[in-house]
Every structure is written in structure tokens, then in C-alpha cells.
């Protein structure tokens, strides 16, 4: 099977997955107790007004009809009216999603850029001080609650050292194209705006990345140690190839496949679980918006957030699968 057919098939597979997700979240959002219309209208609303709004929003119609109407809207890019923000959810998504996407992507970048060298170091210096230190760091990274680490970082870097801003995303770059401030400032070749945006994202992204960073570090270490014991590694060493060449060109590429799986999964996990970090840093992201929507039972907001996160998760995993082929040519597109 060639790559193109494989890609089309994988994309087609996404359709039932997202459809299933939409049915599930649609039903769940309707059956959880509490009436969003009463919250939206204010607690003094009369029964008559509640019924009127129920009619306007179509919530008085059978669940199947509501679902079909909603999904028809989604296909047109209309996620419905938000009872919380009093505007179309699509506008909310356009405002909030780029912030979370940027935060999560930078967090993943940090996890890979710091986690991989530390993992390699731990493998190369197995059972030495660097290895023990990396093990302790990994344990701390996995065990430390993110929100607590976030508060500690704030106290250290914003309050005491005054190196980084305490909260927020900073001012939007003068030209907004993608909604990702780092990207937009680079596209506009505005290095000052890039630096300001980077200073704002650095702390929350690091706090968010720590768990994944620890996982990457440990997986790379384990993978590298396994690869180092293989015959091809011994042969390469006996031929007198330089250590760096063996590590980076041969061992790392093979050791990275397992880590890649975790990165794909982690990306989705970070997207959905950025809430605590977004709360501490007042980061205007989708997780923050989603939890607010959930608290106020804003049906359309909850469904839209779930679908967008689900879709991103699926796309990232598709990319991961494609990358397998690059790292391990033995994997065919079957």
C-alpha cells in the first residue's frame, strides 16, 4: 500500500471516531443534572421565560433532532450559541484555542528538547551520578502536582527574581494571523514581540511540560540502554566509529520509536489537562474555557471543546503514526 492510500484510510478512520465522540459527549452533556437555561437567564427568571428560551434554543425538541441540527451546524463551522458568553461558540473557539495550542506545543517542545539530552546522558552514564540525578529529577517531575510547581515558579521567577511576568499571555502581536503569538511575531519579523510572547509562555509551558519531560527522559534512557546492547551497536563501536555518531545517528533513532508513542498520547493529555496551569497563570486557553462552560452547563461550549480537543488528539496521533515510518522503515503502511 502506498503512503497516500494509507493516509486517506487513516483520515477516513477519524470520521467514526469523531462521530462516536460527538454522540457520547452530546448525550452526557444532556443527562448531567442541572438546567443551564435557568443559570443563563438569571435565577429570577420565571418558568415561562425558561420555556421560551428552551424553545428558542431548540432544547425542547427530541434529543435525536437536537443532535442532527447541532452536527449540521458543526459541519458548517457553527458550534451554536453559548449561554455563558452570549455569542457563537465558534468565536469563543477562535479566541481560546490558539492560546492552548501554543502553550501545549511549547510544553511539548520543552519536554523533547530538555528530556532527550538528559535521557541520553543518563543512558551513556548509566549508574553514575548523572544517571542517579536524572532518576531523582524524573521522579520529582512525575510526582509534583503541576499547579503547585506553577505557584513555586511564579514565586521564584516573577515575584523574587522578577525575570518573567506573573500572569497572562502578553499583548497580541501587531499583526494577528494564526492567533499563535510566537508564530505571528516571527511572521511579522517582530523580534521584540516574539521575546515578550516567549517570556509569557515560558513559565506556564515549563510547568505543564514537567511530567512529559520526565517520561521522555526515562523512555529515552531505557531505549538507549537496550539499543546499546544490540549487536549493531557493538559492531559500530568495534569498528571505532565516533561515540557521538553511534549515539545520535544509529542508537537514538531506534530508541525514539517508543518515546514517539508517548509524545503523541501526551499531546492530547496536555491539551485536556492544561486547566490547572491555565488557572494559575491566567492563561486564556481552551481548557479554562471548557471548565467554565462545564460549571455553567453551557452545552454547546462543552461539546465544542471536547470535539476540538478530540480532533486535535486524533490528528496528532495520525502524525505520530506517519512519523513511525520515518524512524523505523520496517513499519509499512498496512
Amino acid at each position: 500500500m502506498n503512503f497516500r492510500i494509507y493516509l486517506v484510510r487513516r483520515i477516513l478512520h477519524l470520521i467514526p471516531v469523531l462521530l462516536g465522540l460527538s454522540v457520547l459527549i452530546f448525550v452526557v452533556s444532556r443527562v448531567i443534572p442541572g438546567d443551564p437555561l435557568r443559570l443563563a437567564l438569571g435565577t429570577e427568571a420565571t418558568e415561562e421565560q425558561v420555556q421560551q428560551l428552551r424553545q428558542q434554543t431548540g432544547l425542547d425538541r427530541p434529543l435525536v433532532v437536537q443532535y442532527i441540527t447541532y452536527m449540521a451546524g458543526v459541519l458548517r463551522g457553527d458550534f451554536g450559541y453559548s449561554l455563558r458568553t452570549h455569542r457563537n461558540v465558534t468565536k469563543d473557539l477562535l479566541d481560546f484555542f490558539p492560546a492552548t495550542l501554543e502553550l501545549t506545543t511549547v510544553a511539548m517542545g520543552i519536554a523533547v528538547v530538555i528530556g532527550m539530552p538528559l535521557g541520553i546522558l543518563a543512558a551513556v552514564r548509566k549508574d553514575e551520578a548523572a544517571d542517579h540525578l536524572s532518576r531523582v529529577l524524573a521522579l520529582i517531575g512525575v510526582a509534583l502536582p503541576r499547579f503547585w510547581l506553577a505557584i513555586l515558579l511564579q514565586l521564584a521567577f516573577a515575584y523574587h527574581l522578577r525575570l518573567l511576568p506573573t500572569i497572562g499571555r502578553g499583548p497580541a502581536p501587531p499583526t494577528e494571523i494564526t492567533g499563535l503569538y510566537l508564530v505571528d511575531s516571527l511572521l511579522a519579523v517582530d523580534l521584540q514581540a516574539f521575546w515578550v510572547s516567549f517570556k509569557h509562555v515560558a513559565m506556564p509551558a515549563f510547568a505543564l511540560s514537567v511530567g512529559t519531560l520526565a517520561q521522555v527522559m526515562r523512555l529515552i534512557r531505557a531505549g538507549m540502554i537496550e539499543e546499546m546492547r544490540r549487536d549493531y551497536a557493538l559492531s559500530a563501536r568495534s569498528y571505532g566509529l565516533p561515540a557521538n555518531l553511534i549515539i545520535y545517528k544509529y542508537l537514538l533513532k531506534n530508541a525514539f520509536t517508543a518515546t514517539l508513542t508517548i509524545l503523541g498520547l501526551s499531546y492530547g493529555f496536555l491539551l485536556g489537562n492544561a486547566f490547572l496551569v491555565e488557572t494559575v497563570f491566567a492563561w486564556p486557553g481552551l481548557a479554562f474555557y471548557g471548565v467554565d462552560a462545564l460549571r455553567f452547563k453551557d452545552f454547546n461550549g462543552v461539546i465544542a471543546v471536547t470535539l476540538v480537543i478530540g480532533m486535535t488528539y486524533a490528528v496528532v496521533n495520525l502524525i505520530t503514526d506517519i512519523l513511525y515510518g520515518y524512524f523505523d522503515p520496517r513499519i509499512r503502511y498496512e
Binding site: 443534572p33 442541572g34 438546567d35 443551564p36 435557568r38 443559570l39 437567564l41 438569571g42 435565577t43 429570577e44 427568571a45 420565571t46 418558568e47 421565560q49 428558542q56 455563558r84 458568553t85 452570549h86 455569542r87 468565536k91 469563543d92 479566541d95 481560546f96 499547579f147 505557584i151 511564579q154 514565586l155 516573577a158 515575584y159 506573573t166 500572569i167 497572562g168 499571555r169 497580541a172 488557572t279 494559575v280 497563570f281 491566567a282 486564556p284 479554562f288 474555557y289 467554565d292 460549571r295 455553567f296 452547563k297
Partner: protein
Amino acid sequence: MNRWRYLVLVVTAAVALTVSANPALVLSQPREVIFTNIETQIITAIDPQAAVDESSLHSAINLYDPLIYPNVEQGTMNPRPHIAESWQVTPDGKTYTFKIRRGVKFHSGRELTAEDVAWSMDRMLRTKRGFFWVFEPVLDAGGTQVVDKYTVRMRLKGAYAPFLGALEVFFIMDKDLIMANLRPGPFGEFADYGAAMLERQDAGSGPFRMERWDRATEMVMVRFPDYWRGWKDGQITRVHYKTVTEEATVKTLLISGQADMIPQWLSAQSFQELKQTPGIVVKEDPTVQLFHLQLNTKKAPLTNVKLRQAISYAFDYDKALQQIFLGGAKARGPVPVRVPGWASNVPIYSRNLNKAKELLAEAGYKPGDITLEYVWVSALPLERLIGLLLQSNLQEIGIKVDIVGEPWANVVARATKAETTPHITAIFDTLKYPHIDSHTYGMYHPSCWGTFRCMSYYENPEVSRLLEAARRAIDPKEQMQRYQEAQVLIARDAPSIYVANPLHRIAFRNYVKGYRYVGLLGFDNNFYDFTIVR
């Protein structure tokens, strides 16, 4: 150089020197005074007629003007002139005529007139959002008439005691600006009534105009130079209104000086901590808020008044105030003590276990007979502590209490029917409009059943008659007398355990001057009142 040229040169040089020595003379622009306010809730809408929560009301108060204003200078919520510079009421209490102040400008530059007032009232009654429910019983869309450019008349269906006070939350909008920016919507000729436009800009005449609004993070407001009340040095020129939900972050921002003021929603412990911090002022005021445990009088066994009284005598009010609220005043009946019209002769319950046991026996119950459900709002841990205290107190007279935490959405949903309403529900209830009617008629007249404010499902024909008479009364003395009589009867029937009028706490940097607690939700943060004195 001739003599005149020489003179002009000398004068010019002198002016230049004076001006450079005193920059104030060149500044037609005021000194930039930036103020950073932190709030823990997002601003959900800048449409002032949709605002009901604190942060949205903050935006309304700063971007718009209400028709009349609470008399904050005298520390009361009674109405004083604002956009309406005077008013007259007919002897039957049904017709109000307001004289509109001349020379008030909208941010668009156009003058505010009676036409805008009438149009804004109709808009509120048609869109049925925000505080429309206060006006709806007595006023229909079209019931507000323009008499002339600066006179507007409102004809009510009947005399209505809270009407004038309620106008303090009626904000006037720029009719022409909104009508010129309509988008398709459900309101016929009024299309969306400006909803889309109000995403991007305000339509007000308030002291500040909106410069930027990033939902969920920040609204930037800048001084409106033509504000009709004028400006003086030291007043704020730019407000950064930021939303930060994490308590630890909020404290860090204030302590580090990155914020000038933080909101009331922090825990009492955090305010205690901030009190010890140099450079920070924690201001505490008794509130016009009631914290009470509503007893469902339509659900057995709480249908029995003696049982309700027994429970009221068993509760440990002092412990609740000292150890859970860390201050505040004990509630004395349904009306907060600071509200004009509070009845000093209202029956007050204090902890008396013997009396509680006697009443329980008189009610026909023995220890162990009763199990009650206590519901607390799961976002408010303080209410859980109150539940634990109640559980332990009632155990002493042989009543078992099951404590259940529910999200607010569920509490509101359960309140819609007496059968689904819990036996006991913990509720914080702030004055909804600046009148005693809010905490009497608004909580104990059967017309409010089905809302969280009326989870006691209280019904007493005598009280209903008194409250209806009070609303209709034209003579203020007679009106207050009716409300006071009703309070006494309500408290005697014990439809709630009246626990506390908690303290209102707020913290700000010590160079912020002019803050005063108003009591009417949101009005404390009218940034026009603040000056910065460093």
C-alpha cells in the same frame, strides 16, 4: 532687530522657560494614572442590560451611567440624582417624571436625551435580560414616554415600592449608535438590538470607555475626557481589569505591586494573611448580605413550625461566626441589619439546647426519629464547614443530618420544585436591588417559589398580605411599617436559620484612596471614585 521683535522674542523665551520648568502647563493631557484591578470571575458581557454578576456589573458601572445613583456620599443606597437630576411622583405612586441632565455626552460624542432613556428601558423589557424582572411586574415596553428632549415619564401599572431604587441598576445606552449597527437577530425591527456591536465596543456615557476586551483575561478601559462630572488630578486614566482565578496568584500580584486592588472572593484566611503585609490595606465592612440555611417548609417533617424553631435554637451561631466566618455580624432575621427598614423587634434565635429539646418534644418527635438532607454549594467549602457544625449541633438533640455537596447548577435545578428541594440548603443572598423588598417579598412571597431565593417555600397568608400592601403603599412610613411587621412574622415561623451578615473584605495597595463599600453589587468598583496618592 526692532523693539517689537525683541519684545516678542523675550516673551517667547520666558514662556518656554516657564513651561519647561512646570510641565503641568503644557499638559493638556492628564498625568497617566494606571490602575490594575484583579477579579476572579470573567466579564461575560459588556451589555449593561445583561449584567447580573459582579464583574459584568463592574464594566457596566464604569462604561455606562444609570438613571439614578445610590447616595454613596452619605453611606446609603437611597437614590440620589445622577442622569436624572430630579424627579416627581404622582400621589397615586404610579407615574414618575424624570428631568434628564443636560450636556451629558455618550462616548460617541452625541448628547444623551430623554429619547435614549425611553429606548433603553424598552430594550431591557423586550430583551428580558439582566434586571428586567424587577421592572416587568409594573412596566411594559412602550410604557416610558418622551415628554420633551430632557423629560421622560414612566407610567406603572400600580404603585411599586422598589421601583425608584431599582432604577440604580437601569443603565442608559446610546440609541443612535446601536440602531446604526444592527445585525440580524430575533427582535423584529430591532434585529439583534446591538448584541454584535456590543462585542467590540460600548455604547455608554460612563467615566471610562472600553479600549480592549480579551475575554477571560483583560479589559482595558480609558478615561472618557468629556465625562459630565469632570476630572481632577490623581484620578485614574487607564484601568487594566484582569481576570485571575487562582487565589495564590491573586495574592502574589497584589503583594508584588503588579495589582492595585483584588476582589472580595478570596478566603478569610487569605485576607488575614494580607493584613500582616506592609503596604496593603484590607478593608472590612458589615455587608448587606445574608447567609442562611433555608428550611423547606413544604417538605416533611419541616412542615412543623416547632421543629424548625427547635433546629434554630440548636444551632451554634457564635461558633459559626468566630471559627468559620472569622468575623461578621450575627444575622437578625431575614433582612441584613444595614438595610434601611430592618425591624429591630424581629425574634432572634440563639443557641439554647434545652429550649430546642422542649420544642422537639412539643413537635411530637423523639431523638432518632428524624434524618434531614443538608445541601451545600460544592464550590463554597465554607458551607461544608457550616454543614458539619449543623450536623454536630443537631446530633445533640437527636436529629441526623446527611451532608451533600451539589454544583450550583444542580442547586438551581432542585429549587424549581418543593419536592426536589432539599430539607436544608445553605445560601448566600445579597441584596438584589437597593430596597428591603429584596429580602422580604423577594424571598418570602409565594410568587418567588421555584428560585434559589425561595427554597423555604414559605407561605403565610398574613405575611403575603402585608408584603403586597407594602409594595403598593405610597406613604414611605406606612410602607416600612408593613415590611417590618412582615419580618417579625417571618422570623417567628423560622423558615431559615439566619446565620450571619458576613464581612465584606477587599484588599488594595495603600496609595489607593476613595474606595467605599456601597453594598449594591458592583458599585464599589466605580473607578471614577478612586485616586492614587503616592
